[in-house]
Symmetry: C2
Subunit: 475 residues, 2 copies
């Protein structure tokens, strides 16, 4: 994993040193010597990561970080603050200004590359989620995602895997005092089980587990889907650098070296949890917009747009499967009367109940969609005309069998539907044509008196059709 890194320091020798180290590892390096040029470079050149010195004349690192995190164009770029070794207060201030991490001067190579790799890997993942508006480029839903805030790192659920009793006690004490929920385990098997039972925000793993390999556990966390994106903080000793490199390669997110400093523990914990939650939020937003685009807001079932795409695909697949595809269109009888008599809210309730009843009655591989107004469609892959007509008849009965309760009326409404079925075995038939044939069958069902099924492909085979009923009392 490589990346473009902006190095910001007012002392040219420091810039050159970091530049040389990073370039040798094939990173691309941009440089800036003061806060203003740093902001400009960040805006114009969109680096993947910023290494930011704290002490600079003019605008200091804290202010630069604050501005970068306020600007919509730069706020997703991770920042690593470079502070004096001893200055814990600076570190806390840096994180508060929006820095994602910090490194102490003189910068240790392993630490540098560990942070840089872990942050750029994360950035690439986030960029993947930053889906932009296809046409104008203007809309970026991540712009609408709330900024990382303090709040996003509170009450973390943290799994602690540490076999050394004393250290585990101390870590639990520190983290609990900061308001996190700690789940303690001592061995890998229990740790894996625990994280499967409950979503964790962070997993802290000791490299030295009694009789077990901490890295093996990390690897297992990375390879099972539920924990793949949960950050892992590895606890190790100064002498474990080789295993650390391996761990980072496996996807360990960050590390702490013993003896553990309370402030550093809390700061790193907070950063990891905040980042994890931001990632989840992006994912949720994407999932939500996908769902908004393809579902009907009232009933929650698929909309016409999705149904059309799905039907196109199912018809295309006939050339592989050689199996017929059936569609069923149905329409609630005299629906206008429901709206006119009981109001639109009642009409909406009826539509929802219809979607529920039908949804419960179809098979897993059938697809139910709202076609518009009071019309619905069911797509049935691998279904010949007769079974399709039987499904339709079952749905008709299911709707007619039990009157619909609506709020604001103590009388349940009898509701019926007319249904039209059509089947194709021809992969070149358009979905529009197939739906048109089903629609014609639906009209035939209506003409024949409603509350019945008609099939486009077996018009004469007399599927069951109940006596027409007066659909809406008093309508």
């Amino acid at each position: 994993m490589t990346a473009r890194i902006l190095v910001v320091d007012d002392i040219p020798a420091n810039v050159r040193l970091l530049e040389a180290k990073l370039t040798a590892e094939y990173f691309e390096v941009l440089t800036a010597n003061d806060g203003f040029s740093a902001l400009e470079a960040a805006q114009a050149q969109a680096p993947d990561l910023i290494l930011l010195d704290v002490m600079m004349p003019g605008m200091d690192g804290f202010e630069v970080a604050r501005r970068l995190k306020t600007d919509i164009k730069t706020r997703h770029i991770p920042i690593v603050m470079i502070t004096a070794l001893t200055d814990t207060a600076d570190r806390v201030r840096g994180l508060e200004a929006g820095a994602d991490d910090f490194l102490s001067k003189p910068v240790n190579d392993i630490a540098l590359f560990a942070r840089v790799r872990s942050l750029t890997r994360l950035k690439v993942m986030m960029d993947e989620l930053r889906v932009r508006h296809a046409t104008t480029g203007q809309l970026d839903i991540t712009d609408e995602a709330p900024l990382d805030t303090e709040d996003d790192a509170r009450n973390g659920r943290i799994l602690l895997v540490e076999s050394e009793e004393l250290l585990a006690e101390k870590l639990t004490e520190y983290l609990s005092a900061a308001g996190h929920d700690i789940f303690r385990t001592t061995g890998a098997a229990e740790a894996l089980e625990r994280s499967r039972e409950q979503d964790m925000d962070l997993i802290i793993v000791s490299l030295h587990l009694a009789g077990e390999d901490g890295l093996r556990l990390c690897s297992q966390y990375r390879s099972q889907e539920e924990t793949r994106h949960v950050p892992i903080l590895l606890i190790l000793d100064e002498g474990d650098l080789e295993q650390l490199a391996k761990g980072l390669d496996l996807g360990v997110t960050d590390y702490l070296i013993r003896p553990i400093d309370q402030n550093e523990l809390l700061a790193r914990t907070r950063t990891q949890i905040r980042r994890r939650r931001y990632h989840d939020k992006l994912h949720e937003m994407l999932a939500k917009s996908v769902s908004l685009a393809y579902t009907d807001p009232l009933t929650g079932i698929y909309n016409r747009r999705y149904m059309n795409a799905h039907l196109d695909r199912k018809i295309m697949e006939i050339s592989d499967t050689q199996k017929p595809v059936s569609v069923l269109i149905f329409d609630i009888d005299h629906f206008k009367r429901v709206n006119d008599t009981y109001g639109h809210a009642a009409g909406d309730e009826v539509l929802k109940t219809v979607a529920e009843r039908v949804g419960d009655s179809i098979r897993d591989f059938d697809l139910l969609a709202r076609y518009g107004g009071e019309e619905f469609v069911v797509i049935m892959p691998s279904t010949p005309p007769d079974p399709a007509a039987m499904v339709a008849e079952r749905l008709r009965l299911r709707l007619a069998a039990q009157p619909f309760e609506i709020s604001g009326s103590d009388q349940a409404l009898p509701i019926t539907a007319s249904l039209g079925v059509a089947t194709t075995t021809d992969p070149t038939e358009t979905s529009q044509n197939l739906l048109g044939r089903a629609d014609a069958a639906l009209y035939a069902a209506k003409d024949a008196g409603r509350n019945r099924v008609r099939s486009a492909d077996a018009p004469e085979d007399g599927e069951a059709s109940a006596e027409p009923m007066n659909a809406v009392a008093g309508g």
Copy 2:
């Protein structure tokens, strides 16, 4: 990067050997001894990668691959076929059956881990894009993405960076014969420029560029955003294994060892291009659904849902910015007459033209949305009441100044609008309330005779308002 790998081979010793190698590198290993158990394991345990032996009694590897790629549950899992060294025909058959890659027996470690790492990295990236329906878990838009097909790897645009004239000639000849477009360059600077000018489907880079470091170039491709996801095929010699490891770490996707076999070149090229295009398609689909969820299908501008979320945020930001937020609601005067007189198609044209004219007249940081029917909203951050009223007046004039051309009528329609403006400086005012105030101002504008601006926050300051005009001739 670690992963869960399914090893399929009918010879237990082969399974054990691969299992030992992979486990030592912290991969998780599942095993199967025949085709049927392989299909079962793939379905039940969702591995990240499948290493699949070709020669097995019962169902052979080709058939297993074919079935895995047909099943919606398993078709996104990459497959590496393991073939006898000499059997080029098998390789081609494997790729045709849907394998993503192949390895020759006896399996070389570097090759094994190179393929495994590159494919699992890609799989994780794809998984990130496989956004599922938030509530039911039923909708997965990637299910609707077309399967990788032969067609997806044709006419690739390939950038070839090779300083050795003879090899470059030969590669160009092979790839052109397969229908690809080849762009030849010999040095890194030109190569970078070329790939910025035009989207490439694949970049083939020689490790040994005259006087330059091929890996440096790969690194640059990976760190610039436009080429980050373009696959890179590295060309090297048998002795370059150390650089290969570094290259794969930098994000090189695959490699070829000289002397280059024509079939292998074409197969790997095809696999990479197909994968790249599938990735792009997923990204496009996501972007499209985001856009569908947040834009108005008729005019292409934002919809009410997006506008509301945006306005909430802008009002919230007042506590940071201390700057007023203004909203403007407007309504096309006598729009019903347009529909009634000229038909809905004409009405739609008018709505589109209104969106265009207003969109062209507002500032970059303003947001235009369709509020419903013939109502539109403009959100103006950092805008006090007076400038907001001026913007409104400018929009009013822009609409009224030039009659609207509509198809099917040789007479242009005069169109005017009534506009209401409201401003808030209070971060706790709800967007609903602010819009309500603007809406009241809009009604005041209508009451006062239409084609004018009224402001909720400066009712008496007499902004310009033209004489009311009869909006639609003959309406």
